[in-house]
């Protein structure tokens, strides 16, 4: 039996509605929203979940559902209620989230939101009121308008050829793995309304039991926009809509997705995770250095970017200020790559290394690109493994070293820039080679790689001392 008392989940007076008639809803005579509202409110009463419910109102005729439901209320942008519900459900472990949506809202503008929320198995009960027309805006075509149905925007009837076919949302959502409950019900007559209440109840029980995404499509009359009398509309619903939208249960299963609410760690654990207590500094700053503008350039895979990061980490370890800025994007993938590192004891202004005072050229194209930009009096370290030519300029210092071969012989061809950084340290004295050796284990995770990189450092030092120290 449909009870004739007002559920307590409804407000006694609809104060938010304002104006005259605070006891009446804003819905038109014969509209199905009143039925659906009442069924939902009754179920909330029966389950004793009124305090826990947060009701997401859509855009459409039910935009003002918060006038009536004495629950937590949130009004959503057109079609977005499932996304809003996602944000709520993932914040509030004990809440019961209801997304109440019409056909334009859910199957038109909000198609993406509903599909993805369903596919993620969000903990939301969706009540989808399908009346095959846009009510609020005065009777335009909905995604669920049936072929031949006349609306303001299909004055001669919906044409499948022009407008496509009505979308059957239960069938579509039934293709997804995550939802636990999918059912289409009808408000065509009293017996159907009682069945509708059962489905609504199951969808909400599923929320109480944290089972997951539950979807109830409710075929509902819109006599005003269908241009029918209320009784005629209920008949049309049964005769015309139900054949297109079969009334049945599509799924009543168990949860596929575990409910996994956030469980933040303690403050102390977070600090530990973020290394807040770890000190990587190696030596106390003794003397001020002049600002170092270092550029590394080569092709992708030579470790140009990571070499720069190693240098910047060494600078921090020695308590200098530093910045590292890469060229990035498509250039990183297979093309040339370059990184600028600035080391300074003052505030670092521009992070761009337009004119380096130390340039490590890992391949020929890089030397061609940047040779002219090196500051007079600066240094170019040329990777002679890959660059045959000599530097043209005479106003700078040049160092030639087979960086790739040195790295290769040490077993880490990708660490050629590590050899370059080592030689930078030896040549300028800005950072100590020991610092590089100590920073490598802090910035590389794989043990084998650490050893290989350390071998590269040692080989580079040996080469430098033997061949370059006196230049």
């Amino acid at each position: 039996m449909v009870k004739h008392t007002k559920p307590k989940t409804f407000y006694e007076d609809f104060v938010r509605k304002g104006g005259p008639g605070e006891k009446n809803t804003h819905y038109c005579p014969g509209c199905g929203h009143g039925n659906v509202h009442k069924l939902i409110a009754e179920v909330i009463d029966e389950l004793g979940i009124q305090d826990r419910v947060i009701f997401c109102s859509p855009v459409g005729c039910s935009v003002f559902a918060y006038y009536y439901f004495d629950t937590g209320n949130i009004q959503c942008a057109h079609g977005r209620a499932p996304a809003v519900g996602t944000g709520l459900a993932r914040s509030l472990e004990n809440s019961i989230i209801i997304s109440y949506q019409g056909d334009g809202d859910l199957a038109g503008i909000g198609m993406g939101a509903i599909m993805h929320a369903a596919n993620r198995g969000e903990h939301i009960a969706v009540f989808f009121v399908n009346n095959a027309i846009y009510g609020m805006t005065g009777g335009q075509m909905a995604p669920t308008t049936i072929v031949g149905q006349k609306t303001l925007t299909t004055p001669l009837g919906r044409s499948a050829g022009r407008d496509g076919f009505p979308l059957t949302m239960c069938e579509i959502i039934n293709n997804l793995a995550a939802p636990v409950f999918i059912e289409r019900v009808s408000l065509g007559n009293a017996a159907r309304i009682l069945k509708a209440k059962k489905a609504i109840k199951q969808a909400l029980v599923n929320q109480v039991e944290k089972k997951g995404f539950s979807f109830v499509e409710i075929l509902s009359p819109c006599p005003i926009n269908w241009k029918m009398q209320p009784i005629e509309a209920r008949k049309w619903l049964i005769d015309k809509l139900e054949p297109v939208f079969p009334v049945k249960n599509f799924r009543n299963g168990d949860s596929q997705v575990k409910y996994d609410p956030p469980r933040p760690v303690s403050d102390e654990e977070m600090k530990k995770l973020f290394n807040l207590e770890k000190d990587i500094s190696i030596k106390q700053k003794e003397e001020h250095i002049s600002e170092q503008l270092v550029k590394l350039a080569g092709f992708g895979g030579q470790g140009v970017l990571s070499g720069g990061i190693l240098l910047a980490n060494c600078a921090i370890a020695e308590k200098h200020n530093t910045s590292w800025l890469p060229s990035y994007g498509p250039e990183m993938r297979g093309g040339t790559a370059n990184a600028g590192v600035i080391i300074s004891d003052g505030q670092i202004g521009s992070p761009l290394v337009d004119n380096p005072n130390f340039f490590i050229a890992m391949n020929g194209p890089s030397l061609d690109s940047f040779e002219d930009q090196v500051l007079p009096g600066g240094t170019i370290l040329v990777n002679s493994s890959l660059i045959e030519r000599k530097v043209n300029r005479s106003d700078i210092k040049t160092l030639y070293a087979p960086l790739t071969e040195i790295a290769q012989q040490a077993g880490a061809v990708a660490a050629a820039t590590v050899a370059g950084i080592t030689m930078y340290a030896l040549s300028t004295g800005i950072i100590a080679v020991d610092t590089i050796r100590q920073v490598i284990p802090l910035s590389i995770k794989r043990k084998a790689l650490i050893d290989e990189n350390l071998k590269v450092v040692d080989a580079a030092r040996e080469y430098y001392e033997k061949n370059l120290a006196k230049t």
Binding site: A83, R90, I96, I280, I316, T322
Partner: protein, 349 residues
């Protein structure tokens, strides 16, 4: 606390979590993706929620829902993604929901490219979506500030019930620098306006719809009063060598860094130039600029856009001093020398 080498886009995530963020909803886009990558790692690692949304339209609506639930929630994106969020941003402003949006600007319009621009200044500072509203806009110029500004942005957002933008550019997002992480972990308190799914909060309504013109008018004036209060209480900027300055650079983000380098070079050539760097773009340091107009002969606004902040600078200076606009677009970033050369030409005549 020890310094670590951290990328600007990643520093955001550490700042956020230490600042009490519990939820991140986002959609990848270059050059902001590293924020999502690091969030995907660190939010779950700290027991918090990371979710990759199906698109930016729904990501911002997840923020709407989580913010309504009193969560400290954030997203990160870049121009095209922020455009898609404009609807939700307007709804959040209308419903007075606090949240944080990190916007790492790329070059536009349209798909543009992934290099730095500051061309979303107007869209971010003036609103961006429909209706009368403003966002608090913080403009970091280093990886440290990416962390620090995000860290404090949640409290600001909640204090004023506004959206806070951390407006960076591709270079400030990509740069790695020494960063000292804040030592204290913050947490959101319970708010009387939020929805918690319990009896005490049952009467609350989160909404931006007010059908009655009188009510919506009152709401708009209330928002306007709030924005005025924010302007009084929150305007922040930093000045460099303005005490004796005849000339003034005005720049934010990476351009402020370039101006710092140009400033020291120009000072060496006996050009007494200073720099005013707004740290908040809304509210904008108009009052301070208005004071400085009595001191300075010329202002130079350096921006990676078509002069969007320069309009605000001119307004603040009441057109009392000439404003030179140094603008680069399309992802082109000037060298320090480019700025020095132009300044020498303009200031020495």
């Amino acid at each position: 606390m020890e310094r670590q080498l951290i990328k600007g886009n990643e520093a955001v995530v550490f700042g956020a979590l230490l600042g009490g963020a519990t939820h991140f909803f986002g959609y990848p886009i270059t050059p902001a993706s590293e924020v999502a990558h690091m969030a995907a790692k660190q939010f779950p690692a700290t027991g918090n929620c990371f979710l990759q949304a199906e698109d930016e339209v729904n990501a911002i609506n997840m923020l709407y829902g989580a913010a309504a639930a009193g969560s400290r929630v954030m997203t990160a994106s870049s121009g095209p993604g922020i455009s898609l969020m404009a609807e939700g941003i307007s709804y959040m402003a209308g419903a007075e929901l606090p949240a944080v949006i990190v916007h790492v600007q790329r070059a536009g319009p349209g798909l543009g490219n992934i290099w730095p621009e500051q061309s979303d200044y107007n869209a971010t500072v003036k609103g961006g979506g429909h209706g009368n509203y403003k966002n608090i806009v913080l403009a970091p110029f280093s990886a440290q500030e990416m962390c620090d500004f995000t860290y404090r942005s949640f409290e600001l957002a909640e204090k004023y019930r506004m959206l806070v933008f951390v407006l960076a550019d591709a270079y400030i997002g990509q740069i790695m620098e020494s960063v000292t992480l804040p030592g204290d972990v913050k947490h959101a308190p319970r708010y009387d306006w939020a929805l918690y799914g319990d009896r005490e909060s049952r009467g609350n309504l989160i909404s931006s719809i007010l059908m009655n013109t009188e009510l919506l008018s009152t709401h708009n004036w209330k928002l306007d009063d709030k924005y005025k209060k924010v302007a009084e209480e929150l305007t922040e900027w930093e000045e460099y060598e303005t005490e004796d300055a005849d000339y003034l650079f005005v720049a934010f983000g990476v351009c402020a860094r370039l101006c710092l380098s140009a400033l020291s070079a120009l000072r060496k050539q006996n050009i007494r130039i200073g720099l005013l760097r707004p740290k908040t773009l809304f509210p904008f340091p108009s009052k301070r600029l208005c004071e400085l107009r009595k001191k300075i002969k010329t202002a130079i606004v350096v921006e990676l856009n078509n002069g969007q902040m320069a309009d605000d600078v001119e307004l603040a200076l009441r057109c009392a001093v000439p404003v030179h606009r140094y603008n680069w677009m399309g992802g082109k970033v000037p060298s320090t020398q480019d700025i020095i050369d132009r300044a020498l030409k303009d200031l020495r005549g």
